[in-house]
Symmetry: C2
Subunit: 557 residues, 2 copies
C-alpha cells in the first residue's frame, strides 16, 4: 500500500512516522514544497529574537534522518500542484529541476496548512510573514541590515504577532503594532488583555488598535488613524486562511469556515484522501459545529491519528477546545473554550467570574498576581471557557481547566479538584479551587454578582455603590460616587446605607462577597461587583476611547 | 444556634469563616490550644531555612482580625480536654489562667489534626517536631545556638522531613537523614526517588535508609547501621497519627486506620459532632475504603464543606486522590493516586509506564529533564496513579493527571488532552500526551513492554537484550550482556540477532518502541524495556545493597 503525504511539517510528519511504526511494509512518500521538513515552527519567533541562537536546533529532522529511522521517502523542494482523485495520482513539480511528474497513491494525506490571509506586497518596504524557516532567515537579514534606529511595523496582534513584537524588541527594534479590531489578542475578552497592552506600551511598543494600513508610499506607511510610520520592514501577522487550492483541485468539499471538510477520522469527501492540520475544519467542543482551530498540538495529534485510521485502527478525533497560550515579555496570557464575546455573539447564556489570585501562597517569596476569568453555563454549571493573564502558573491553571472541561467537570466541581500543594506552587485552596467556590456560590444563589460593564446601568437604576475596601485603598483610587465603608466596620455602620438596592465592591471581589453576605442577611438587596475594582479598571480602560484616560485611576491597582 | 470548633488552623478556621458567611446570626466559638490561629503551617520549614524571613507573614489572621471581619469568638490558649455528647458540652482549660470551664454547643466540629507518632525525648539532645509556630521558634533558637560546625539529625524522609532537611542545609547545618524504610519518600516507588536521594547526597546530606535510632547516650546517637552521630538537635519527622483522644472521650467511633470515622458530610458517629482535617479518615478514590490522607488542601476544603452541612446545604466530600508535591533543592517530586508498591501489596492488577521527557520543547532554552510514571488498570485503562520527578513543570503535569483522574479520563485519553502549548511551556505533544500514546500502544497491543525489575527474569529465560542506542551511548554505560545495534541500522542487521525472544531498550524507551515495532513486524517475539536504560539504572541503584555500586553506570545518564 502506498501513502502519499503532502506537507512535511507538524501534521504530515506525525502521520508519516506513525504510519511507519504501524506498518513496516507501507510505501510512504512525503512531498514538501520548502527546503525543510519537521522544523520547529513554534520556535521561529524566538530565533528571530535570539532566544534560540542555534539555527540547527530548529531543524528537528532531515530527509536523511527520517529515511534512516523510519524508511520514509521525503522529498523537499517538491510542490504538489494538483490531485486527480479518479486516477489516484498527484502532479508534482521538482522545483530545483523544474520538472513535473505524476505520483500515484493508494491513500493521500493533505497536510498543507494555512497561509497568510493577504500576501500584500508593500512598495518600497520588505514584507514577510513569520511561518517558515525561510521567513525567519529573510527577517534575520532585514534585522541585520536595518538602520541605526531600526523600526518595524507588525500587522496583527494575535499569537504570532505578539511573539514577533516581543522578539523584535529584544533585537533593539522599535515596533509599531497595528490591530484591525479594538483590542489585541481577540480570543480573549477586552478587560483581560488590558495588562498585555500595558506591558507592550511599557516596553516602548507603539500599540494602535482599530487601525489598518491605508496606503504605502515609497517607504512610508499611512495608517488609518492618520499616523505615518517609516518601518525598515513589515511583519504580516494579520492571520491565516486554510490552504485549500489542492483540495479544490481534487473537487473535495470545503466547509463553511473555509477549511477542508473532514469527518472525525480526518477523511475528506473523497474516501482515499485525508487532511489534517491548519487547513482543515475541526469540530468545536462547545457548539458541535465546524470551526477553524489552528493549533500545533491538534495538527500533530490528528497527523498521528490519521495514520492509525489508514492502518485500520478505529481512531477518532475528539472535538477541539482550542487551548492556547502566549508570552508577551513578563506577561503570559492563555485561553480555553469560548470568550464572553463569542458567547454573547452566539446568544448563548453565560455567567462570568473574574478573580485576581496570587500564583502561589503569598507568604512564600515570588508570588505573582494573576487575573482569571471563567465562563459558565448558568443552567448546567458547565465550563464554557476560561482566560488567564499573569506570569508564573498561568500555563498550569489553563491546563487544569482544559482537562476539567474535557472530563466534564462542572464549574462548581473545580472547588473539589485535588491539586498538588506546597507553598511554592499554589495555595491550599488553589486559584482554580477558588474559581469553583465562586461558581458554587453563584449557582446556589449564596451570592449575586454583576459585571463591570453592568455597573453603570445598575447605578442609573438607582443602586448605591459601596466600596468595602479600607479608607486608604479608597483614597488611592476609587469608582466615582462610591460610598466607602470598610467591610470590617460594615455591621456597625449599616444605618449609614441609603435605602434601595446596593452594589458592593472591593479590590478583587473577595471582601465584596463577605460584605454582600452580611448585607443580604440584614435584609438588603445587594449584588457584588465581580472581580472588584481591578476588573472594573481593566474593563473601563479598554472600553474608553483614549487608552490613557483612566491612567491615574489604574495606577493604584 | 451555637457551633463550637476545636482547633483554629486549616480545617477549623475554614469552617468558622464559611459558617459566618452563610449565617450572620450563628454563635461561633473557636478554641485553639496554641497561641496562634490560622497560621501558614506549610510555610514553617521555609521560615526555618530563612526563605521566608518575615515571621509575621506566617500569621495570616489573629483573633482580633477574625472578630472584626467574621465576628468570630476565637480563644487561643484554650485547650478542650473532654466532650460530653449527651450534655452537648465541652470542658475547656484556659491555659494561662489555669482555669477550667464548660462550654455548651448545638454543633461541635473537631479539627484537632494529627500529632507526632512518638514524642520521644532523647537524653541530652533537644528534639522537636516541625508542625507549629512554637516548633519553628524553638528550632530557630537551636540553630542560632548551634556550634561552629552545626549538625542535625532528621528522623523521617517524608514530605516534612525532606523540607526540613533542605532548609537546615540552607542554614549551613550538616544533616544526617535517617529513614526506617529502604527509601525516602515512600509514597513514590523506589526507582522514582533515586534522583532525590542523589540530589540530597550531592548537597552533603548523609542519607541513611533502612536505619533507625538504636540508642541515645549523653549527646550521641547510635544508629541501627552502627554509625554514631552527635547532632546539636533532632527533628522528628517520623510521621503523625490522628489525634483522637477527644473523639474517644466523646465515645465517637474511630475507624480502622486510626482516624476519626466520619461520613461524606464529615459527621462522626454522634449526629451533632463533626470532624475534619488530619485527624479524620477520608475515603480513598481508588479503593473506596477508609484511608488517612493528611493534606492541607483537604483539611481546608472539608472545613468549608462542613460549614455548608451545618448551615443546611447538601454538601458531600469527594473521595480523596492524595495529590502531593515536595521540593528538594532543585528537584521536585509529586504523586497522585496509588504507587506500584501499594497496587502490588493490594494484589491489584496494573501496568506501569515510565517516560523521561523534557519539561518543554528542547529547542527552547531551559528545558529540564523529567521522569514520569503512570500506573494503569490493564482491564479498564483507568489511571490508578502517577509519579513525576524533575524540576520545572512537575507541578503542572501532576495536576493535569489528577484532574484527568477526577474527570474519569482514561490513560489512553491523556493523548487527546488539549494542553496549552508554546515552546516555553511544553511540547506540541506534551509529556502528558506522550504518556497517553504509550498507554494506547500498550492497550491496543501495538507494543509490549517489561519493567526494569522484570529484565533479569526475561534474560534468565533465554531472551536476548538488544541496546538500540548509538554505539557512543552504549560505550558510555550499558546493561551487562546487551547486544548493541542502533535502531537506524536495525533493518539492515536483522540477521545478527540470535533466534528466540528479544528485549530491546534505548535510553528512555522511545527508540526502543520503534525498534520493537520493526522487529515484531519482522516476525520476532520482542518486548521493549519500559523507560529504557534510565529507568533501569534508577531501579537498580535503589535495589542494590550499596547505593554507590552502580555509580559509574549511572554517571552516563
Amino acid at each position: 500500500m502506498k501513502t502519499v503525504i503532502v506537507g512535511g511539517v507538524a501534521g504530515g510528519m506525525s502521520a508519516a512516522t506513525r504510519l511507519r511504526r504501524l506498518d513496516e511494509t507501507a510505501e510512504i512518500v512525503v512531498f514538501e514544497r520548502g527546503p525543510y521538513v519537521s522544523y520547529a515552527n513554534c520556535g521561529l519567533p524566538y530565533y528571530v529574537g535570539g532566544v534560540i541562537s542555534d539555527r540547527s536546533s530548529l531543524l528537528l529532522q532531515t530527509p536523511q534522518s527520517l529515511a534512516a529511522r523510519f524508511r520514509l521517502d521525503v522529498r523537499t523542494g517538491h510542490e504538489v500542484i494538483s490531485v486527480d482523485p479518479v486516477a489516484r495520482a498527484v502532479a508534482v513539480i521538482d522545483v530545483a529541476a523544474g520538472e513535473t511528474f505524476v505520483e500515484g497513491y493508494d491513500e493521500l494525506i493533505l497536510a498543507v496548512g494555512a497561509s497568510a490571509r493577504e500576501a500584500a506586497g508593500h512598495p518600497g518596504i520588505p514584507t514577510h510573514t513569520l511561518r517558515t524557516v525561510e521567513d525567519v532567515d529573510a527577517i534575520g537579514v532585514l534585522v541585520e541590515a536595518a538602520a541605526d534606529h531600526p523600526s518595524a511595523l507588525v500587522v496583527g496582534g494575535g499569537f504570532i504577532g505578539l511573539e514577533a513584537v516581543e522578539n523584535l524588541v529584544r533585537r533593539g527594534i522599535h515596533v509599531t503594532l497595528i490591530q484591525r479590531s479594538p483590542q489585541i489578542l481577540t480570543p480573549l475578552d477586552a478587560e483581560m488583555v488590558a495588562p498585555l497592552e500595558a506591558q507592550l506600551r511599557s516596553r516602548g511598543v507603539d500599540v494602535r488598535t482599530s487601525v489598518t494600513i491605508d496606503a504605502v508610499e515609497t517607504g512610508e506607511v499611512l495608517l488609518s488613524d492618520g499616523a505615518r510610520v517609516r518601518p525598515d520592514f513589515i511583519i504580516d501577522a494579520s492571520g491565516v486562511v486554510p490552504s485549500v487550492d489542492l483540495a479544490r483541485s481534487a473537487g473535495l468539499r470545503v466547509g463553511p469556515t473555509g477549511g477542508i471538510a473532514v469527518d472525525s477520522r480526518n477523511r475528506t469527501s473523497d474516501p482515499h484522501i485525508y487532511a489534517v492540520g491548519d487547513g482543515v475544519e475541526k469540530v468545536d467542543a462547545l457548539s458541535g459545529q465546524e470551526a477553524l482551530v489552528t493549533m500545533a498540538g491538534l495538527a500533530n495529534r490528528h497527523g498521528r491519528s490519521v495514520a492509525d485510521v489508514i492502518a485500520g485502527h478505529d481512531e477518532r478525533n475528539a472535538p477541539a477546545l482550542g487551548t492556547a497560550i502566549v508570552t508577551v515579555f513578563d506577561t503570559v496570557a492563555a485561553k480555553v473554550g469560548w470568550s464572553e464575546r463569542q458567547l454573547t455573539a452566539a446568544g448563548r447564556a453565560h455567567r462570568a467570574i473574574h478573580t485576581h489570585p496570587s500564583s502561589h501562597a503569598t507568604y512564600y517569596p515570588g508570588a505573582q498576581p494573576m487575573s482569571m476569568k471563567l465562563l459558565v453555563d448558568p443552567e448546567t454549571d458547565a465550563i464554557l471557557g476560561a482566560q488567564i493573564v499573569g506570569g508564573e502558573g498561568v500555563d498550569k491553571r489553563i491546563d487544569v481547566i482544559a482537562v476539567a472541561m474535557a472530563g466534564g467537570i462542572t464549574a462548581s466541581g473545580l472547588a473539589r479538584l485535588e491539586l498538588a500543594y506546597a507553598p511554592q506552587f499554589g495555595s491550599a485552596k488553589d486559584p482554580v479551587n477558588q474559581l469553583g467556590y465562586v461558581a458554587d456560590n453563584l449557582r446556589s444563589g449564596t451570592t449575586r454578582a454583576i459585571q463591570w460593564h453592568e455597573l453603570d446601568a445598575a447605578l442609573d437604576a438607582g443602586a448605591t455603590l459601596v466600596d468595602v475596601r479600607t479608607t486608604r485603598e479608597h483614597a488611592a483610587g476609587a469608582i466615582p460616587g462610591a460610598l466607602n465603608i470598610p467591610v470590617d466596620e460594615l455591621r456597625e455602620r449599616l444605618d449609614e446605607l441609603p435605602a434601595g438596592p446596593l452594589v458592593v465592591h472591593c479590590q478583587v471581589g473577595q471582601r465584596g462577597h463577605t460584605a454582600a453576605r452580611i448585607l443580604s442577611q440584614n435584609g438588603r438587596d445587594v449584588v457584588n461587583l465581580d472581580g472588584g475594582y481591578r476588573t472594573w479598571v481593566a474593563g473601563r480602560r479598554m472600553s474608553s476611547p483614549s487608552p490613557s484616560a483612566l491612567h491615574s485611576a489604574a495606577g493604584s491597582e
